[in-house]
Symmetry: C2
């Protein structure tokens, strides 16, 4: 069957954008001009443009015009341990693998005690509780990720009381747990999920509230030697500005 008219127009706009006829960052013709050019009604033009918006090709701005989306250089997040010694013992937070040429800042943690049900990866019983430490993370002043780490309340009971404090744990919660309780992380498992942002994420990341940009959710469960989970760290970030990298076995250093 023949495509609808707004689809044909969207296809044409798409190919013009990809041919560079409308350069990145540049302005699309106004709706009025497109109406005349394609001899279509305003609503049909708007349907076509909306399709291009959903494909991430253009971004309309009320009062200004519709602009071709600029290329974004995604930030690379390395999920495996850095350096050549893959078997090393230096467990790291996701945050610590950020490129150093960026200005990374975090909000003060928001600490709560919650039911264990929200962190099923920790495999705690029905009545158990967890400490959650939530942070907003910024990169070069722009919102970059939301991160929440869940610890079994048990760790606090056993002496790791700083997990309840609202200040940052320096030089890191992993080494704190090692010093305070002798708990060493021997590895972790990362689960990556792509989904639509919830309203809070859409607000924080300044995304359109219509699910246009997906969210990447990384759920890292870290384990100690006994196989018991130590923590669950959930990191969410917009999927269009980030990519993941991880290595298995012996690989050469990245040179790009």
């Amino acid at each position: 069957m023949r495509d609808a008219r707004y689809q044909q127009i969207a296809d044409d706009l798409r190919s013009r954008i990809e041919r560079g006829e409308y350069p990145r960052g540049g302005k699309l013709p106004t709706e009025k001009e497109l109406m005349e050019y394609y001899d279509a009604s305003r609503n049909t033009i708007r349907d076509a443009v909306r399709l291009c918006v959903n494909l991430g090709l253009v971004q309309p701005q009320a009062g200004r015009g519709t602009f071709v989306t600029e290329e974004i250089n995604p930030l690379v997040i390395t999920l495996t341990r850095g350096g050549p010694s893959v078997g090393g013992e230096t467990a790291q937070y996701l945050s610590e693998v950020l490129p150093t040429q960026h200005d990374a800042r975090s909000s003060v943690p928001r600490v709560e005690v919650r039911e264990a049900g929200i962190a099923p990866e920790l495999r705690l019983g029905a009545g158990a509780t967890v400490v959650s430490r939530h942070q907003e993370r910024y990169l070069d002043g722009r919102p970059w990720s939301l991160q929440t780490t869940f610890y079994p309340m048990d760790l606090v009971t056993r002496g790791a009381t700083r997990l309840l404090g609202p200040d940052n744990i320096e030089p890191g919660a992993v080494s704190y747990l090692s010093e305070a309780l002798g708990i060493e992380e021997t590895g972790w498992r990362d689960r990556v999920i792509v989904r639509v942002p919830d309203p809070a994420e859409a607000t924080f990341f300044q995304l359109a509230d219509d699910g246009r940009v997906a969210i990447m959710e990384i759920r890292r469960t870290a384990f100690q030697a006994s196989g018991a989970p130590v923590r669950l760290t959930v990191t969410t970030c917009p999927a269009d500005r980030n990519e993941l990298l991880f290595s298995t076995g012996q690989v050469p250093a990245e040179s790009w």
Copy 2:
């Protein structure tokens, strides 16, 4: 500022869906009924429903009605080597880590010789060529992933001529390269990118052509001991039906 009316209606629909008032798989009221209930025009109702569609909450079907999206049980793709011996030498294709309780089938590979520029991860010179082997993969009869593996043409020249054959390489290209040329994969690097489907992907995966469902692209570069890349395997699949799993260090076996 007050939300637009279609947004308010969409919010209301959303909360009703989440409260279970409209159960999963069930039918939303018709546009006519919603028009009467919210005392809004049909276009406004349609704008509200479209928002819910973009959020993945509902799926309209012409002539039938609008249905609340069913929960998807995502397929888990493990990107690290299986089993407890993380340092083992059994390199695997992504395909081989599929759960065995599914019926996994692949199309006959489409083999082409192409310019090396399309596989920059292989770090080949300007005039070099690569062999590309492309497969469509199905799970339980449904399209599941598209996979293309690129090998330096050099490997064929050195004797791995079966890379050019249009039949499947049994029991796997990795062991074939080991037998034919003594090339052992010592590790790989996976890069994960989330993006909008291109038209070919939208067709194969039977996705809406409007970028509603994101695509996960996994680019696996495998290396030999010398650090030289052996192959690049690019796997794409719909991001809403799949999740990734990978382990670092010592982790207990999955028990769920």
